[in-house]
């Protein structure tokens, strides 16, 4: 069954090709079928391959499929290799499965849009590219997927191309992530320079032997890779693109900007974990980036008025948790949180999409309200997603994944108490802003009356995701719940296990209680602040609130420091100053031309005088000097 591995990315690509080339000619029904079926089949094969991987693991828990030799020049010989291990399998499962659900949702959601085929072709392209990213066996191939998902993100953010703002957001997303990508490319140059290969596994095995721990090379490489990860995963300082990326349709936000693409950075760091292990400084930086990002984004999420922007900042914040986990060495915890986050965040985005759709494309939460009664189905699934995001204890998937991260933030070797503090503060914030969002949208008085009915193709994915948001956490219980850490165990085949410095189950339980209390406290706080009193109205224009609202002013700073100078620089020299040099040469000769043509009077006697003068000068110079 493993030999079918190549069909997993190939199916979405085939779907993309069909839709891109013949999309115009096909009916909407065929388009919808092609789009979702290709992803669905891919998901099915993933599951089959996964089962066969689990039941009959290949040697070393690694399966490789070499398709063809890509580039071959001397020692530089990246191949098109698919690489399957536990890490990529988890990612593949989420990508194809959640991807399929979102495709299914889109068949109903996008039904009234023009460019139906275009949408599905881009989506299929995205799924295929994302699969390449996580299945790539060497870094160049990974980079291919990495850039291709960026492209799809660009295309889908700007899907409604007629509005220039969407185009701007799309370009911003692409260019900001491209900065990270370029840093990552430099990391690849460094690695190739050192090892003469870009095979991931070869680098990982040779790295500890050939590079000293903490050496400048290791740190530089790790930082460069981190740069790529930070760009893609919208972490500090390159997080500015993600809130604007909400200009795309909701399924896009769900698939690309919540569930899969933005977690590519997590995947990259987990994939190249050895490099980070060998560069402790860089790993600490990863943790710091994660901790700071999760707090900053949390505060920003607290003040947003656009429901999708709340979710966007929350995504940034949740990925911050994953980075924190990576930074403290809890590799599998990051992957676990990635998985549950994919479920509940996709659910939230899709739910928000339903709300937006039924309210005539209204994004502003303060014009919603009271939807609990008019849209009960949406309310309930949204509530489940929110509970999971807020990590409501015991019954939600978010609780389990976040709990492990918080525990290792405290207990892991080389961690710091501040990381835990940031995490716990973040979980309070998460509870507050999530509840705020739910309260404002679904409770209170009705401000806009929804219209239309929700199609079945939209409901099914929501139900499935809601279920997964609840039970998705049960595959990995915390250590003090008994020895039931199946996901970590599975990942341990390919990722090192986290080393806890503290092994006291009592303390672990204590911390769980603390965070549970804080979550409940956060919900109550939100109830007081946003349902009982309308705090937003009072603060909306003031000081720090405004500062948070604009994402801590990063956009403004970049505008002043980067964009304005670049635009200014290019506009002042639009006509190329070198051109003036050549024009100058031409002018110079023109000047002498005009001058000398004055001498050309046409009078023969004048010329004779000229000859006389010339003769005098010539004789004096040549003979008498």
């Amino acid at each position: 069954m493993m030999d079918w591995l190549w069909t997993i990315p190939a199916l979405p690509f085939a779907g993309f090709l069909i839709l891109a080339l013949f999309g115009k000619q096909l009916s909407r029904k065929v388009v919808a079928w092609t789009g979702s079926l290709s992803t669905g089949l891919s998901a099915l094969i993933t599951i089959i391959v996964g089962i066969s991987f689990l039941t009959n693991p290949p040697g070393g828990h690694v399966f490789k499929q070499i398709l063809w030799s890509w580039i071959e020049v001397g020692s530089f010989s990246p191949e098109i290799t698919l690489y399957l291990d536990s890490l990529s399998l988890v990612f593949m499962f989420v990508i194809t499965f959640v991807g399929f659900l979102i495709h299914l949702y889109s068949t109903g959601f996008m039904v009234e849009e023009e460019g139906y085929a275009r949408f599905f072709s881009y989506m299929n392209l995205f799924v295929g590219s994302m699969l390449l990213l996580v299945m790539a066996g060497n870094l160049v191939f990974l980079y291919l997927g990495w850039e291709a998902v960026g492209l799809c993100s660009y295309l889908l953010i700007g899907f409604w191309y007629k509005n220039p703002d969407n185009g701007y957001a799309a370009r911003k997303a692409f260019i900001v992530t491209r900065i990270g990508d370029t840093l990552m490319a430099i990391g690849l140059f460094l690695l190739f320079d050192q090892f003469g290969t870009l095979q991931i596994q070869e680098i990982l095995t040779r790295f500890p032997a050939e590079v000293a721990e903490g050496s400048p090379f290791a740190v530089a490489t790790a930082i460069m890779l981190l740069g790529g990860a930070v760009g893609k995963s919208a972490q500090l300082p390159l997080q500015v693109w993600l809130p604007d990326a909400m200009a795309g349709p909701s399924p896009v936000s769900a698939l690309i900007h919540a569930a899969t693409m933005v977690t590519a950075g997590v995947y990259l760091i987990a994939r190249t974990f050895v490099i980070f292990q060998m560069a402790p400084v860089a790993q600490t930086i990863v943790a710091i980036v994660g901790a700071v990002t999760l707090l900053l984004a949390g505060f920003s999420a607290l003040t947003q008025r656009d429901i999708k922007r709340v979710l966007a900042y929350s995504t940034i914040s949740q990925i911050g948790y994953m980075f924190l986990a990576l930074g403290v060495g809890a590799w599998s915890a990051a992957v676990f949180h990635f998985m549950t986050h994919a479920f509940f965040k996709a659910l939230l985005f899709l739910g928000a999409g339903v709300v937006i759709m039924h309210l005539h494309h209204e994004h502003n939460m303060f014009k919603m309200g009271g939807l609990r009664k008019s849209m009960p189905f949406t309310f309930w699934v949204f509530l489940i997603g929110s509970a999971s995001l807020a990590a409501l204890p015991l019954i939600t998937a978010g609780f389990y994944s976040k709990d492990i991260i918080l525990w290792y933030a405290w207990a892991a070797e080389g961690s710091h108490e501040l990381f835990w503090l940031a995490g716990i503060l973040g979980s309070l914030l998460t509870a507050v802003y999530t509840s705020r969002m739910v309260f404002i949208t679904f409770f209170g008085e009705i401000k806009t009356e929804p219209h239309g009915k929700t199609a079945l193709s939209i409901k099914i994915p929501l139900i499935v995701l809601a279920v997964l948001s609840l039970i998705g956490g049960f595959i990995n219980f915390p250590g003090n719940f008994g020895d039931m850490q199946w996901l970590s165990g599975f990942l341990a085949n390919n990722l090192p296990e986290a080393h806890a410095a503290v092994h006291d189950k009592g303390i672990e339980t204590l911390f769980q209680v603390i965070s549970a209390v804080l979550v409940l406290l956060g919900i109550y706080l939100a109830y007081l602040l946003y349902l009982k009193r309308n705090v937003d109205e009072q603060f909306s224009k003031k000081g720090i609130y405004h500062y948070w609202f604009s994402g801590w002013g990063f956009d403004y700073v970049y505008e002043v420091l980067v964009i304005k100078p670049v635009v200014w620089l290019s506009k002042i020299d639009e006509h190329d100053f070198i051109e003036y040099f050549y024009t100058g040469i031409a002018r110079f000769h023109m000047f002498w031309h005009v001058l000398f043509s004055k001498l050309q009077t046409g009078k023969i006697r004048w010329y004779a005088m000229g000859i006389a003068t010339g003769a005098i000068v010539a004789i004096i110079v040549l003979v008498f000097s």
Partner: protein, 102 residues
Amino acid sequence: MINISLETGLLLAGILFFMGFLGVMVRRNVIFMLMSVEVMLNAAGIAFVMAGSHWHQPDGQVMFIFILTMAAAEVSVGLAILLQLHKHYKSLDADAANKMKG
């Protein structure tokens, strides 16, 4: 037969040459300019002949014959142009024809 030096001969040639040159520069009438040119050519011929006599070689005289030929050709063309000039401008003023185009 005579007792003069080459210098003297060349002096004669030089005087005539520069008189001719002066004529070219001063006169505006094309006929006179052509005449002046003839004088200059003739002076050059004198120089050749004198030099030939000095060294007892016929080459100087041969050169004179060439100059003569050239002068004849030049005068015939020059006078033809002069006629056209006169027809065109109704004048023999060399400065009238200063446009450098037909």
